[in-house]
Amino acid sequence: MSTFPISIPRPVHPTGIWGWFTTVDHKRIGILYGVTAFIMFLTGGVEAILMRVQLAGPELDIVSAAVFNQLFTMHGTTMIFLAVMPLSAAFFNFIIPLQIGARDVAFPRLNAFSYWTFLAGALMLKLSWIGGATDAGWFGYAPLTSVAQNPGTGIDFWIISLQILGIASLAASFNFIVTVINMRAPGMTMMRLPLFTWMSFITAILLVLAFPVITVALIELTFDRYFMFNFFNVANGGSVVLWQHLFWVFGHPEVYILILPAMGIVSEVLPVFSKKPLFGYKTVVLAGIIIAFMGWMVWSHHMFTVGLGAVANAVFTVTTMLIAVPTGIKVFNWLGTIWGGSIRFTTPMLFSLGFIAMFLMGGISGVMHAVSPSDAQQQDTYFIPAHLHYVLFGGAIMGILSGIFYWFPKYSGKMYSERQGKISFWLIMIGQNVTFFPMHFVGLDGMPRRIYTYADNMGWNFWNGVTTGGAFILVLGFLLVVDNIGRHWKNGEPAPSDPWDARTLEWSISSPPPEYNFEEIPIVRSLDAWWETKQGEAHKEVPASGGSGENGHDIHLPQPSYWPFVSAAGLFIAAYGVVFNDLLIPWGLAAIGLTIGFVGVYAWSLEPVNDPEEEDSTH
């Protein structure tokens, strides 16, 4: 067995901040993702509020055109890549191993690496505000992103941070795919997987297939910008429509990546708080798979006005309308779940019910877009942000909020304030509708998107004012959420292992779970394994860590490591080195960063196992 040239021992039971830097525990990594992503979500919210203040009335001068254009670009990029996706990842991390009866993910150090790499990409993107952030839209259409149009570093930071974020996402996805396939507890067949794990599994597969497309597109753009290539340069035979195709072949599966985990959360919460199983589990799983598959066939509906011609538009119209079918099935199955149930209106349940109501509305406006002749009027107007915020805010964010409250007892070990939770739900629900519903009006009234101001005589003043007002209601709602979660994480009532009388395995262990999750790996005999266990024992109170009573002494856990952090730090430095490739030595900083990253990965592969409780095992 070879070792690293200089023998660097692994950290042994690190505490405090070192514990967080070197952790490979999926639960801690989940919390890191969640807190980081929520902070990023709030920065995206600030970007939104600044835009809404500027648009509250006609011809205002709160922010300049240049800043506004950076704001909407950064808001979109932040919310998609730094908020919704990593918030979902937070739940993948914390919940999936618990739901499948495992002690950790398949590759714990890779898991830590994913988080630190995500942080690197997120920091790089947010720091790009200094010196001028990217202003070409989150979708970065060529040739706005060319060096000729955009010589500054904003676009470069955007490109490189997306690539870094892509590495993080891919690493995480590989990890979760292998974890779900290989580490399920005995008896947990795929068709006994909790729905959240199923949807996350599908999402991970989508990620693995979709990210390479944008990676290639971004590499081509990088070569255009740095090495005078001509992929998107029409003067030399390139095509700007090529960028759009590449971007949207990624971009459309991306929106399913954004929504499927939230749909998974809703599919967990509704049964628990209706005291009934998910209606048509098999169908909901199948619908998720069909949506993921069909999601590859609709991308050009984002390009209906680009001039692909009637035939191409007709094909994508048809496929886009058809994808409404499996989506509708899910909504009906959720209705079937609560129908005939015994519904408790807790905060997570309210958010999940809100998800259904809002996502339905977003789905209906989506069908309106699918009809490409009328989309010719709707495209690039406020009608589109109306649709997308109903599905992404009313949908994904509400679903995630549902998860934040539902699993709060499990990850924090405390109970939040139910009363405060309900108030924040209503503020967010009302705020969402007051903010985004009027966008349908001004869109159909002729207001284009991505404009930093509008004339006084267009008739758009009133509804823009209303939208801005709604945004502040949302701010209030989120302030209450932050306070509720933050305060009670520290000082809340201790939570029992199963405060909700729930159905899945994560509720069979203490809140928060012990480091090793399960004292004994459970044997699964059915869907809703924990519920069935409870029924079998005639509602007998199950001790928080039932089992062998050995207090986890013989359980071998993955050990902490420095190297994921070091490798990610190397990537971070290399990324800056790519943008600032002409400091002292050309590409010098990039080389340094890559070297550090390389050393990190090398050490990682060879690092010794030195669990002091292990006397004679070699693995």
Binding site: S64, I343, V371, P373
Partner: protein
């Protein structure tokens, strides 16, 4: 009792929402898609109404079922365990088949509408086939020269069309992607560099129709607007005739001074005052100014020169010209004149107040 209260509240909310919905269509607003004035926009709106009413029915039914379920099946006793129904295959088949069927039905008028908007009527005349070229941040328009098939007539930011005739437009761009959108006449089509897109529309009534760029194109995307002005065909022909003349030359010494400044300040580098060019020739960096004084707006729809019926108000025109010349960046942040013309980039060559007045005098004579 509680059920009654919830029903009353729901009814109140529903009526408020419906009233809001209906009153939120403003057909008379300048760019409202609810006030179509031509067959293409009308056909697109008709399709929208189909989906809207269908969507409303779905909304009422599904949200209604949701609200009903929330009320009827709320928890009555904590120890209640309802029947653990796992599913109902027949129901699931029904609620898969019905939406699929409804969508298939909508597909028919949709596909028809699609092919309608993409194929100009066979009656479209060659003299009503124009070119629209996108620039950052203004619109160039070219008309075929009726007297010479090798030539085109160039103008900017206002496109006159004959009422009641289909007009075909070939769309191009010299820099980034823009979009040509005049909501009351037709949905938009993008102006993509090197792609050569096409659209057609028709105005059924004479009038001034508001248009705006609808594809984010950089700093002043918000400031890139145009007007489609539909007039009876004889008026269209005479307008085109006037457009084909080069800029008026005046014997007024003040105007001539201004013309001199126009040359010495370098304006002619980007702005032409002759409008007839070879077909397919490269455009200029700035809008053609040969007849700028007859345009209802300046700076691509940013400054209004005229009153509602379209006649240019000389005082307004001069004020607007002055505003623009004093600081184009105030009107259109990032514009190429402020960043490219010597008189703005070089403090030594800055235009004096007198020069600006002379230019205003000259430009307002270019009717």
């Amino acid at each position: 009792m509680r059920l009654q209260k919830i029903s009353k509240t729901s009814f109140l909310i529903a009526t408020t929402l419906l009233t809001l919905l209906i009153t939120a269509c403003y057909p008379d607003h300048n760019q409202s898609t609810f006030g179509p004035q031509g067959p293409v926009a009308k056909s697109q709106l008709d399709l929208f109404w189909w989906i809207f009413w269908g969507g409303l029915v779905v909304f009422v039914l599904v949200e209604g079922a949701l609200v009903y379920a929330m009320i009827k099946f709320r928890v009555r006793s904590e120890s209640d365990i309802p029947a653990q129904t796992h599913g109902n295959t027949r129901l699931e088949i029904i609620w898969t088949a019905i939406p699929a069927l409804l969508l298939l039905i909508i597909m028919v008028p949709t596909i028809n509408g699609l092919f309608y908007m993409y194929e100009a009527p066979k009656t479209t005349k060659p003299e009503h086939t124009l070119e629209a070229i996108g620039h950052q941040w203004w619109f160039e328009f070219r008309y075929p020269d009726p007297t010479n098939s090798e030539k085109e007539i160039v103008t900017a930011n206002e496109v006159y069309i004959p009422v009641g005739y289909p007009v075909a437009i070939n769309l191009e761009s010299v820099d980034v992607i823009h979009s040509f959108w005049v909501p009351k006449l037709a949905g938009k089509t993008d102006m993509v560099p090197s792609e050569g897109n096409f659209m057609w529309f028709q105005a059924d009534e004479p009038g001034e129709y508001y248009g705006q760029c609808a594809e984010y194109c950089g700093t002043s995307h918000a400031n890139m607007k145009f007007k489609v002005i539909a007039v009876p065909e004889p008026d269209f022909k005479s307008w085109l005739q006037v457009q084909s003349n080069p800029a008026l030359e005046s014997s007024d010494p003040l105007v001539q001074e201004g013309a001199g400044v126009f040359k010495s300040a370098g304006c002619t580098g980007c702005h032409a005052t002759k409008t007839v060019v070879n077909k397919g020739s490269k455009g200029r960096v700035g809008p053609n100014l040969a007849h700028v004084a007859s345009r209802r707006n300046l700076a691509a729809g940013m400054l209004r020169n005229s009153d509602e019926n379209g006649s240019v108000n000389a005082a307004l025109l001069q004020k607007n010209l002055r505003t623009w010349l004093q600081d184009p960046n105030e009107v259109k942040p990032g514009n190429l004149m402020s960043s490219g013309a010597q008189v703005y980039t070089d403090p030594d060559k800055k235009l004096t107040e007198e020069q600006i007045s002379q230019l205003v005098h000259y430009l307002s004579s270019l009717k």
